[in-house]
């Protein structure tokens, strides 16, 4: 047997009664009308820009379950409160194994406290205390992502308490402070004014859109000033990581 034999069988099929021929014919006529309609609409037909009535309405309980974000203006903060004191216990139990009892960071896990006033240093220490402009971000993030590996497991009161403790470690609030939804916006973050919008267009682009030099661009022949091989932190070479290299920010 080879291909044409099968073809014979297919050819035989020609003579069979087509059960769904009538059905197809009906479809054919309906589509002709439809086609005229969509072509009249300009031949675009992709539906882009039109409301297509896809998806379904989200239920309030569903929106509530996922709408967990908190904004700088406090939108999204739930009812609740927590003290530095309670926070210290909770933090010690749930967070300190990675971040350290005083937010100093165990091994290469992130540091959460300290560094205020170091941002302009040669070696800035960027922490929740020294760097974060908004406290809302910390509430939001701890709730959505911490403890690492057990996200969204914390209750509002616990988060307020741990946050109070983290603020306290950073000398932003006193030992008897109780953080709550109500006083949330009164907390002043040290680096609140430390950010400005991207200004590369104004500051950098004028210099970086000049026609570049193509020939004899340097007066003296360039010399090597720094070598990656000195640090020797590249994986897959014999002494990987021998120089106790830095963690990633």
């Amino acid at each position: 047997q080879d291909a044409p034999d099968t073809a014979d069988a297919a050819t035989d099929a020609l003579n069979l009664t087509e059960a769904n021929a009538a059905e197809v014919k009906a479809a054919t006529e309906a589509e002709a009308d439809d086609a005229a309609a969509d072509d009249a609409a300009g031949g675009e037909g992709s539906g882009a820009g039109k409301v297509l009535h896809l998806g379904r309405a989200a239920l309030p309980e569903e929106v509530a379950a996922w709408d967990i974000d908190v904004r700088p203006d406090g939108t999204g903060l739930p009812e609740g409160q927590g003290s530095v004191e309670d926070g210290e216990v909770l933090f010690s139990d749930t967070c300190a194994s990675c971040h350290g009892e005083f937010g100093e960071g165990v091994d290469r896990w992130p540091t959460l406290a300290g560094g205020i006033g170091t941002l302009a240093d040669q070696d800035p220490d960027k922490t929740l205390g020294s760097y974060w402009p908004y406290l809302s971000t910390a509430y939001d993030y701890i709730h959505r992502a911490m403890p690492f590996g057990d996200a969204q497991s914390l209750e509002p009161d616990e988060i307020y308490a741990m946050l109070a403790y983290i603020l306290n470690m950073n000398d932003i609030v006193d030992d008897d402070f109780v953080l709550s939804r109500e006083n949330f916006l009164t907390v002043e973050m040290p680096n609140a004014d430390g950010f400005f919008r991207d200004d590369r267009d104004e500051v950098e682009l004028p210099e970086l859109t000049q026609a570049p030099c193509m020939e004899s661009c340097k007066d003296t022949a360039p010399e090597i000033t720094r070598h990656a091989s000195i640090l020797d932190v590249t994986p897959d070479t014999p002494d990987d990581g021998a120089e106790s290299p830095p963690p990633m920010q």
Partner: protein, 401 residues
Amino acid sequence: TAGLVPARAISQTAPDPLITEVQPWAQYLGDGVDVYPYGMPIEFESDVIRRNVPWLTAETASSINFTPIHQLDGIITPNGLCFERHHAGSIELAKEDYRLMINGLVDQPLVFTYADLERFPRENRIYFLECAANSGMEWAGPQLNGAQFTHGMIHNVMYTGVMVKDLLAEAGVKTEGKWLLAEGADASAMTRSVPMDKALEDCMVAFKMNGEALRKEQGYPARLVVPGWEGNMWVKWLRRLEVGDQPWEQREETSKYTDTLEDGRSRKWTWVMDAKSVITSPSPQMPIRHGKGRLVITGVAWSGRGTVSEVHVTTDGGVNWHQARLSGPSLDKSMHRFYYEMDWDGRPMLLQSRAVDSTGYVQPTKDVLRKFRGLNSIYHNNGIQTWAISADGEAENVEIS
């Protein structure tokens, strides 16, 4: 047509627990960055695979499998899913063991190592490769029920390689050299004659596909690329290029890949792949599961003569045709992706697509092709494909009046 646009589906009556309950993936850690140094598709996609048709051939070493085009989108075929056609199996040939010889009507016969090839200027081009036998089983009538099987002997890949003309320049082609024999290193020692004009125009020796080394089954470490021409000419594991004054009339260009017409005479040198298209979804392996309303019809189109300038789609078996929307870069001798979006009223349809290429060539119906070529020409079946869609969204490979 307002009546056909459904209102938004009725709201959920009870909240969806997938939303209201914290799911494991939203709570616990997933895989780290050290788990998959070379990544594979997620387990849920394990049905997106090349499939062979065991009854097609006596064994699997000289056989074919098919790209799952029904499940793909865009124009790039992932390397792991590019269909395979071997004549003596897929071999393992290390770069260190690779040699490419140029001999015949040249000033100086040469041998290149793989490292030598890398020192020539490189080009990057996206091309389709279609087996001349693609859709070949369908010449006499609809036989296989799935776009993967009817049209899956095709893939579309970005090649990096060197130009054959640059390699030949090293050896110096004599003026009598009008043909090029390409030969593979596998146990079929695959050979094809390529006219010198084509070889010099755009043929490449490729060593990368979609950025990485050629896959073993695609001719690692180097294959010939013959843009727009039948896949069999794209010799894999390329080991030799001979310049000659006559074609070689090898087995794959006489016994095979020749098109026998109704009178028993056969066309040879039918190298260029005519413009062709197919709707990949819906199709027999991709039924409509969402019922009536918004429907995205999609497919691919290509032409060995240039770019695809238009694709037309019909839902009524060719009474009325609509302009499909082409999406993604439109490149010479590359696959093109098309879409036709519509509101489906849930009634049976007869779906077809028709490609028009940049030379004005219009993809013919199967009946027109048969009028020219009869039922036995096996190769180069670029006829319009019909899928019959039933009211429940199932698709079937059919032919129509």
